[in-house]
Symmetry: C2
Subunit: 355 residues, 2 copies
Amino acid sequence: MSLKKILKKIKPLDTEKMKLARLRQDSLTKPTKSLGYLEEISIKICGIKRKIPSELGRKVVILCAADHGVVEEGVSAYPQDVTAQMLLNFAQGGAAINVLSKYLGAEVVVVDVGVKGEVSHPFILSKKIRNGTANFTKGPAMSRQEAEKAIEIGMELAQREVREGAGIIATGDMGIANTTASSALISALTGFSPHLVTGKGTGISHERFEQKVKVIEKALALNQPSPYKPIEALAKVGGLEIGALTGVILGGALMQVPVVIDGFISSAAALLAYKLCPLVKDYLLPSHLSQEPGHRIVLAKLGLKPFIHLDMCLGEGTGAVLAFPIIEASLKILNEMATFEKAGVARKNEQRVKA
Amino acid sequence: MSLKKILKKIKPLDTEKMKLARLRQDSLTKPTKSLGYLEEISIKICGIKRKIPSELGRKVVILCAADHGVVEEGVSAYPQDVTAQMLLNFAQGGAAINVLSKYLGAEVVVVDVGVKGEVSHPFILSKKIRNGTANFTKGPAMSRQEAEKAIEIGMELAQREVREGAGIIATGDMGIANTTASSALISALTGFSPHLVTGKGTGISHERFEQKVKVIEKALALNQPSPYKPIEALAKVGGLEIGALTGVILGGALMQVPVVIDGFISSAAALLAYKLCPLVKDYLLPSHLSQEPGHRIVLAKLGLKPFIHLDMCLGEGTGAVLAFPIIEASLKILNEMATFEKAGVARKNEQRVKA
């Protein structure tokens, strides 16, 4: 199915099911809305899934990895080789995302959409479009065809996972220098200046941070990405894994499963998906709030309120996976708590105010 | 053991074990400190437990319940009977704390330290000190002996649970009007005015909120609790469950297990425990940030950074239990991630900056 066709097939949420879920929340033995945003999460999931599910089903993190030509400009604290090295670490189960997923009952799907050089391992899905992007301070990061291809790969991955039973998808990323590409793309799509959206990534020095901002300013001045042409902006200053994650988000929405947005790179992909299809916003669940300043800006644009505040900035899907038990807990509350009637507990009694 | 003796037996954390844990965190395949506060949680637990544990062990919520004479003043949206009704709901497994604990692998210990009237159920531990406190707008809430007794009961509960294998304790509360008592106590212990620390509890109207603040001001003016006499302040304007939770926290620290602080009522107990023994602060872990404005004030005083932001205000230990998987995840990271050496991943390379 082509991208255009898919975008038209994404449907609004089922508001009838959401009303039913709200009524049910209000009948449970707790003061109305006293579980705050946890209640909203459960209601949103009912709208997405068109039913009142008792659990999430299979939890899958789709971790898309790629390299970035802009690394040449000295924007990262780590050498480019680390992308491929970390992919093998994911495949061998030694990275943070593996440990968290194992503990929290999630599966990790590792996808190479553009890592530089050969990375071969039975646990790495090879969907390589090219050997990393070009240095976007010297021209576009990739062609428009490559950008579309990245999105299509992501959509197919999400569709396949849902067909195989995934009930919720989390986004994850790996790619040395991808906070630079994400900052550039978010700046292009929102109009916020690079100084406001750029952060210190995996922990660069102040000097390198200043260099990073200059690099992004240079790339934007050269490529002139437009906020009204999101795929073109992706091609000009984005990244292959950002494109693939955009596709994962669109594919999740198409298949009517919630998509949990991880950190900064995932938020860039979510913003792009939203630009392509505003309805997609309703299928997103936030997770943590990253140290990267642009993350807060994008989540606010998407109306997402991150509920885990741990000052993390690792990516890989680590923040999204940590959100799984909280998200699933919202459904347990909805399904398993006693109602006022059943438990014989008195309801609120505002008229008893003593003046 | 008397309260005074116990307070002297609480020890500082094991800083050697904390240094070892920090070294281990820094050797793992992630940028230094990129897991933010999650890393700090793991290090704190190693200091508390004097070892590098691979998991938390048995997770126990100690839920202390009591009634409050001040309910007569129209400070709550719910009638007093709801305390006893909810205790039976806890015993029957129908409340939010039961559902969350079941899902997240925690046990709930329900303790009646002063519910009004008889509440009898095999799953409710009866440690009733009196049938609710007195209305503290007309005199002290309880005697000093009763306040001390409440603290002792809590200490014994925590010690017993740890002896029976609890590796982490969460605090939970139930008691109609206990946000009023907590606000009064926090105002007394911090000097913040009642208007700043008081919130809308389980969802009262604006008129009732103004009434609640006036009631607290009246109670403070009448009873004159001193911030330098914490047990006396508890007796004058506190509550029996707040006293018991203070004891739970002290008992947890004595037994060298982390104590997870739930919402507003638990934070009042934590503040009181800290006033009795400042070292206790190091044994506390935060969980969620409540809607109640005083919660933020107390957590800041205790140096605790809440990491779950769901705008909840239910109590019962619900926020603390939601924090368990995140807290345990921090230990999984510490124990199970690959090191840079083992995984063959390159470390940070700051000298590669391109000017």
